[in-house]
Structures are given as structure tokens and as C-alpha cells.
Symmetry: C2
Subunit: 379 residues, 2 copies
Amino acid sequence: MSGKHQIKVLPSGLVLQVDEGETVYEALLRNNVPIAVVCGGKGVCGKCGMRVLKGVSSPPTVKEEKWAQVLGGDVRLACQVRMLSDGVIELNQAAATAKAKILTWGQEVKTEVDPAVTRREVLLPTPSLEDQRADLERLLQAVGVQSYDGYLLRKLSDCLWGSKFDVEAVLYDGELIDVRPKVPKAGVYGIAFDIGTTTIVGYLYDLESGKLVSVRSSYNDQIRYGEDVISRIEFASKGQENTSKMQDAVVGTINNIIADLLKTANIDKDDVYDIVCAGNTIMASFLLGSSCYHSSRTPYIPPFTSPVRVKARDLHLNSNPSGYLKTLPSISAYVGGDLVADILVSEIYKHEGPVALVDLGTNGEVIVKTEDDFMATSC
Amino acid sequence: MSGKHQIKVLPSGLVLQVDEGETVYEALLRNNVPIAVVCGGKGVCGKCGMRVLKGVSSPPTVKEEKWAQVLGGDVRLACQVRMLSDGVIELNQAAATAKAKILTWGQEVKTEVDPAVTRREVLLPTPSLEDQRADLERLLQAVGVQSYDGYLLRKLSDCLWGSKFDVEAVLYDGELIDVRPKVPKAGVYGIAFDIGTTTIVGYLYDLESGKLVSVRSSYNDQIRYGEDVISRIEFASKGQENTSKMQDAVVGTINNIIADLLKTANIDKDDVYDIVCAGNTIMASFLLGSSCYHSSRTPYIPPFTSPVRVKARDLHLNSNPSGYLKTLPSISAYVGGDLVADILVSEIYKHEGPVALVDLGTNGEVIVKTEDDFMATSC
């Protein structure tokens, strides 16, 4: 009655192995089965309700007995149950389904298109015995910049010679980040991400026209480690491995959304050069691989609040490896870059009288603007 | 008599599988068995001589028949032989052994120690409700820099809080690249690599004292794709995959040497922040993932000649991920950074009269200095 067991998980029908001593919740996590929990698997939130349809399981814990009074006599908690034989279980509907609605703006602000990424057509002088400048120096001199991404050398020569030195250079704030053949259809794209605690939304933009090309959203895969930020901080604080899992989860969700956007718009991943993320301070920290233990305890110190920029390849993003991901600036551990975006988009700073802004999400935030100052809080 | 076969390779005794249609040479390459060839596997150089001791093999090719007159009647060429049954083969001694002698300098030049990497002890003010600055901003302000590696955020908070804000900051040319606890034994190290076509030598230096800590060398693993640069260029030019193999081979050799150096000196890989490589232009290009097709054809244009700097993690180096690798500047496709190093170390630029410098390696180079100028060539 001990050892490893096979269980079939309904409604998906997936069959997986439960290792010795492992709870059903732990086995689901290990097998990447989406399961929504709020408490991080402590038998507190009751969200991971399930039934054992077949097989022998551990007797109900005290926590399960309490929840059975609310959820029904035969409902168990996946985070408490251990299987003692092969069997069949059924997850309850709320725990098993994960499908996000697409969120769209109610208000758009007119902005000037002024992207960090620009491209420039360059026709280089053809090399000769009289002009033996190397490929890189030839290109840098023609474009008139000194800063470049060394990663480019993997493709530079083949591109220049293959295109007979008639190419497009792509620059990011003056740094040469790409060189590519002149292809009429190829554009220059960026994606703005709203990294919510529950839902992540990606907006694909044509950076030259400023036009919104496509929008896609998905549940933040971090939900599997807890539904609210406090549970996730607790999970991530248990060690470097858990912090990495939290980072992998959000990067995985972002990459899935990017894949969706690219497929819909029929765009190549290498044409996406800029990714901008707004999210609360904890979401931004997890994204860059920071543990947030001290954000949750007095005196509430976040890992960073200034805008941070990293190469896309450092996060294994599904975009041009020489492009960048950057976060919006945040204000404190609980007043994040999403609030900064709220202020910018709502333009409440233009109002003369006192005005309040309320952001309702998994966490709620309130900003009050007086004549002289802003005050913000969250819960 | 067709399909996959098992062969035992003497003198090592290794057993490996030869796939259908594959030559013995290709099977050895695929299984990472070191084998020295000059011609890249075309039956031209005769270096991959071997005997079939047991089993059925393809009849000798015309190229093999020619070489049999030189090498002996039963000697086959691994790049030509296909096995038609299981069997036993014996590689000849020259092809099978690969052990590099350690090269050391005959002359040392006194230099001032002025490393790109420096460390600074910093004791930060402890956070409080009155001073809620984020970890990153707190550190940057204390160190007095603005530039930092975003990759650092993966460890920053844990390090600061774990060390009670009494830490060491490591800077590379003014960029904050590391923060670490104050550990008396931990130093700041760099490795200088001489990337030869045949042999790679690594010199581990203590960057603060300028002291040479250890020296290790190894054959350049690119030898498996050809012994001279022209064969390797030909191999690498066959497509992106081959260019990557060439890069992986040299990075693999460098990483093995680093592992050796660190073990000998009992140093942690994260304490190595700077890696400088001198090599001919082709070696430097392969290292950074460039194909060199046009270096070998008139008008002989290399991918780059200026010094290039990339993050260690971009090459998956066995050193601190936020540190750098940089190449010495080279002059042209066949007058490389190794020659520049020769000039610097020999100090021939200080001589008043005409002087010649000869560098004998797998390739030979000659530099002549006249009153007004330098002339260099290679073969």
C-alpha cells in the first residue's frame, strides 16, 4: 500500500505518477497540471477541492474535515490527500479550469510614436583589396555608431555578404542590435505586457506606425504556487530554486502569449525587439528573478523600484535575442509600475482639483491626487 | 550487411555505433572521440589512418589505395571506410593521441597592474520605515555608480540582507557586476587565453596582485574538424550548424581549461570576472560564432578586427555570468590579435633600428619593423 502509484485525473483524463509521500497537489505541480490555489498548498483556502473516485487514499486530515463541512462530505483537498494505491480522482471545476478573458482598454490616450527601436537602410561600399575593412567596422562606420551587441557577430558576416552589402540596421537607443536583409514585409515590433497577479495581457505593436496589431492574454502561470502575492512571496522565499520556479512560470506565460501574438499576426520572433512590462512591484521582481521576502515584512523593502532593462536572451524570451525587456518604474513595494501606468494613461496629473483613481484587480490600489501631491496605497 | 553496426575502437577500447552510410570518421566525431585530421575528412591528408582488425568494411577507395602505398597495405582511412558489419578497428598512434604540452613564456614584461575589475567594500545604511529605498537603489547610491548588470537582481536582495548590508561590490570599468559577502579568502581573478590553432593555453591571474596563479593548456578541440585554419573555415562555412559546432568546440576547450585552473588553485568560478583572448583572427571569429568564409577568399575580409567584449554568460563560460570575455584587436584576416600581443610583449616598437619578429606556430607570422612602419605577413 506504499510506493509510487498511477492516478488518472478527471476531467482532463491525464494519467500521472504520484511518488511516495507526495500529496496529489505536489504531483500535479510536478507534472505541470494547472491547479488554482490561494494558500500555496496548506489546506487553508479550500480551492483545491477534489474527489477520489477510485483507489485507496490517506484518511482526511483535520483541515479536510473542516472543509468537508463547507464543500461536501466526500470532497478532499489535493494538498492534503496522499494516494495509497492506483486510482482515479476528479478535480473540482474551479481548480481545474484556467481560461483568461481578454482585457481591453476603456480609454486610450493619444501618444506620439517615439520608439526606442529604429531601423535604417544602409548600402555599404563593397570590400576590395583597397578597402579591406572588416565587416563589423564597415557596418558601424556606415551607420555612424560605436555601440553594438557582440551577439550580432553570429549572423553579421553571412547577412552582409548574402545581401550584397545592401541591408537594414536596427538600433535600440543608439546601440546596433540587428542587421538584416531588406525584406519589404518585415517590420519592427514591440510588445507591452500587463503582468497581473492573475492575468497577463500582451499588446503587440508596430513600433513604426504605433498601431496595435494584436492582443492576447493568459492566466499567470504563477497561480499554481498561490493566488495572491503574499502566498507567492512565501513560496519563492523558500530558496533559490523556488525563486527560479516563480521566474520560469511568468516567463513561460509571457512566451506563450508572444507565440500566440506572432502566430495571429504572422510575424517572425526576430522582428520583436522591445518588450515593456508593467506590473506590481512583486510581479516585476519575480520576472527578473528576485526573491521578494523583504517586500512582505516591515520595513517593506523591494529589490528595486527604478526601471530595469535586460537583454531578451537573458530571460530566454521568445523574441529577438539582442532586443530588450524593460520594466516600468515603481514607487514602493506595494505601489508598482502598474500604478505608474495608471497615472500616465488616466492623465490624472492634468486635473486641477483633487481626484482619486481606483485600480481593482487581484490587489486593489487607490491613488489620491491633491493640489500638491499624490498619495497611494494598496491592499 | 547494411544498417547500424557496433565497433570497438582500439587503443581506447571504446565501443560505439556506426550509423548506416556513415564513415568511421563521422561516427568518431559524433561520439566526441578525439581524432586529428588536417583535411577535414576528405581523404587528402592521410592523418586518420586505421586498421580494420575484425569485421567487414567497404572496399578501399582510390584515395585509400594511394595512401596505402605510403602508410602500408592494410592501412585504411577513417574518413573513407564504412563498416558493413560489427567489428574492431585500431586507430594509428598519431590520430588517436591528443595531449598538449604546457607552453610557458621565455620572456616576461613588467607591467603595471591596472585591472578592469575592482572591488569595493560597502557598508550600507540599514533599511527602516524612514529609509525605504529599494535594495538596488540603496547599493548603487552607496557605490556611486549608475551602470549595473540586471542579471544581478537574481542574487542582490538575498546577498544584502544575508550579509546585513555589509558587502563587497565588484565593478568592471564602472559597471556594477557583482555583490558578494565579505569573505577574506575570496579574490578577484582573470584568465588570459592564448587561442592557438592547435593548442589553447590559459593563464589564471590574481587581478589585484597581478600574480600568475596557475597555467593550464589543452589541444584546441576544433582539431576534430581540421588541423589548419583553412580546413576549419571550409567546415564552418557549410552552414550555421557547423559554425556553431566550431564555436562550441573552442568554448568547450576553454571551459575545460578553466575547470582545471580553478581546481588547481581552489578558486570559485564566480570569482573569475575577466577573460581576455589572444588568437589569430580566425580563432577569435570562431570563438564569437562568426563564420569566416570571406576571410579565406580575396579580398580577405574578416568579420571584425576591433576588440570585442561580450558577457561571459553569452558564451556559457565557466566563470562569473556577469563578467566579460574580450578579444585583443587584430589587424587583418591573417594578422591577428596574437601578433598584436607579440608586438606588445616583445616591445619591438621600442627598438630604434629595423627589427624582425617571427612567430612560429601552426601558422607562421613575420613582422618587420622599419624606422617608420610595421609590415606583417603570415602563412
